[in-house]
């Protein structure tokens, strides 16, 4: 194999001339971060709600929550993405579908990608939240109730604060997953990191440099997120509990 390495390619202006190829990479990185972070916020809130519902003493609510989790866990992410992007606009009320289809194409891609990643991840977060709540001693709920808390208050003040601390490690890995999963959204044309990498290959014919750069960017996201989550984990650690001081 005789491959001509050319790392300076990143500093050259793009064919379109808008910026350098490095600029494209940063645009992709920015898109990946925006998409993943916004989806994560939704996933966390929604996952907390669904996870709580799975543990409440109400057959209907917990059944619905279980159905939600199973639905989003048993269909591949790519299929879900295509359903959000291609199918949903046809099935929602026409005015809404039309408004969507007339919006900016990038906005369309972003919305579909965000909703898809958010709901997909929320089902996984919900599972973690449920197992966190279930791993707390049963007496905690009783103690809260015995003090006169209502059930929502028990969840808000007693169960969830501890459950979230317990599930920090698996939540961290779900958080990492959302960045990795966001790469799937390149398939609907959203120009995030992986898509910019492919575009670079097409325009520069320097596939190795492009892919190495993208790969390094993902590894960097991984390292940064892990470091931040470790900091957060230390910060919320309960003294005298689970390796706390």
């Amino acid at each position: 194999m005789n491959y001509q390495w050319n790392w300076s390619i990143f500093l050259q202006p793009t064919v379109v001339g808008d910026t350098t190829y490095l600029g494209w990479m940063f645009a992709g990185l920015q898109m990946t971060l925006m998409l993943s972070l916004s989806a994560w916020v939704i996933a966390l809130l929604l996952g907390a709600v669904v996870g709580v519902l799975r543990t409440v003493p109400n057959k209907l609510l917990s059944g619905l929550a279980t159905a939600y989790v199973e639905l989003f866990r048993n269909i591949p992410l790519l299929v879900q993405l295509f359903i959000w992007y291609f199918v949903m606009p046809e099935l929602v009320p026409q005015s809404l579908g039309d408004a969507y289809k007339q919006s900016h194409p990038v906005l369309q891609q972003f919305l579909a990608a965000m909703v898809c990643l958010a709901l997909f991840t929320s089902a996984r977060v919900a599972e973690q939240v449920r197992s966190g709540i279930n791993s707390l001693p049963r007496g905690q709920k009783n103690a809260g109730l015995a003090l006169g808390f209502t059930l929502p208050q028990v969840y808000r003040h007693v169960l969830l604060p501890m459950a979230f601390r317990l599930i920090m490690p698996p939540l961290t890995s779900e958080f990492l997953n959302i960045f990795k999963n966001s790469a799937v959204c390149s398939t609907i044309g959203l120009l995030e990191l992986a898509a910019q990498g492919r575009q670079l290959v097409d325009y520069t014919a320097q596939p190795y440099e492009s892919f190495i750069a993208v790969t390094v960017a993902y590894v960097a996201i991984n390292v940064v997120v892990m470091t931040l989550m470790k900091k957060l984990e230390d910060k919320v650690r309960v003294p005298g509990y689970m390796g706390g001081k």
Partner: protein
């Protein structure tokens, strides 16, 4: 106006879809087998006291777990064809996409399997290894005869769950335009202008298969719960 469904293109497309499903299952199966074998080796390396081996395994696993599967597949579609074509002197236009996908999946999933297997090995009490050594077994014998059989029994549900995830992940070979089940469904939908129906159908099929499989795993888990 409500969307008018037209499912008529599905019956005629069933043979194509079935061929696609065969590709999906083929990739899944290969990746499971290679993933478990190579994953077990990686797990043993990671746990071994020989520094270079454990460092290599840790690096391998952490690297693959940090990169999106889509990127891994793109890498393998880039590298494997050149590499294999060079190695076997194949004509440059040989279609190696399936081989690339299989190799990519297998190496990627090995990283995830190795983490499951490592946890499984570590779940076997330390005293077991000591007992084996006291009986005069070598490290290899102890692993093969005592530790791994116990570890695998504990891991079966997790390994199967990972297999379901893997099966879902195979849909990502779409990035190489390889006609797996999802790729086939998309192509048919695109061809007939019936993307809505075909995508919903694909989603339904995946759901039914994966849901049934996960119920089966739950059932097995209950039945063979390690005491």
């Amino acid at each position: 106006m409500v969307y008018e469904f037209d499912w008529s293109s599905i019956p005629g497309a069933l043979p194509i879809l079935w061929d696609g499903m065969a590709v999906s299952l083929e990739i899944t199966l290969i990746a499971i087998v290679v993933g478990i074998v190579w994953g077990t080796l990686l797990a043993m390396m990671r746990l071994s006291s020989i520094k270079p081996l454990s460092l290599f395994a840790a690096g391998y696993v952490n690297l693959f777990r940090a990169i999106p599967l889509v990127m891994v597949l793109l890498w393998f579609f880039l590298i494997v064809p050149r590499f294999i074509a060079d190695l076997f002197g194949l004509p440059p236009n040989t279609d190696l996409r399936l081989a690339s996908a299989m190799i990519g999946f297998a190496l990627f999933e090995s990283a995830y399997y190795s983490e499951i297997i490592r946890a499984g090995i570590q779940s076997v009490p330390k005293g077991q290894m000591a007992a084996c050594q006291a009986l005069g077994m070598t490290y290899g014998q102890a692993m093969r005869l005592v530790i791994l059989p116990q570890a695998f029994r504990n891991m079966v549900p997790l390994l199967l769950t990972q297999a379901i995830i893997l099966f879902q992940d195979t849909s990502l070979v779409y990035v190489s335009a390889l006609a797996d089940f999802f790729g086939a469904a998309y192509k048919v939908g695109d061809r007939d202008g019936r993307l809505v129906e075909l995508l919903l159908f694909a989603g339904l099929v995946y759901f039914v298969l994966c849901f049934a499989a996960s119920m089966l795993v739950k059932h097995l888990q209950k039945k063979y719960q390690p005491a």
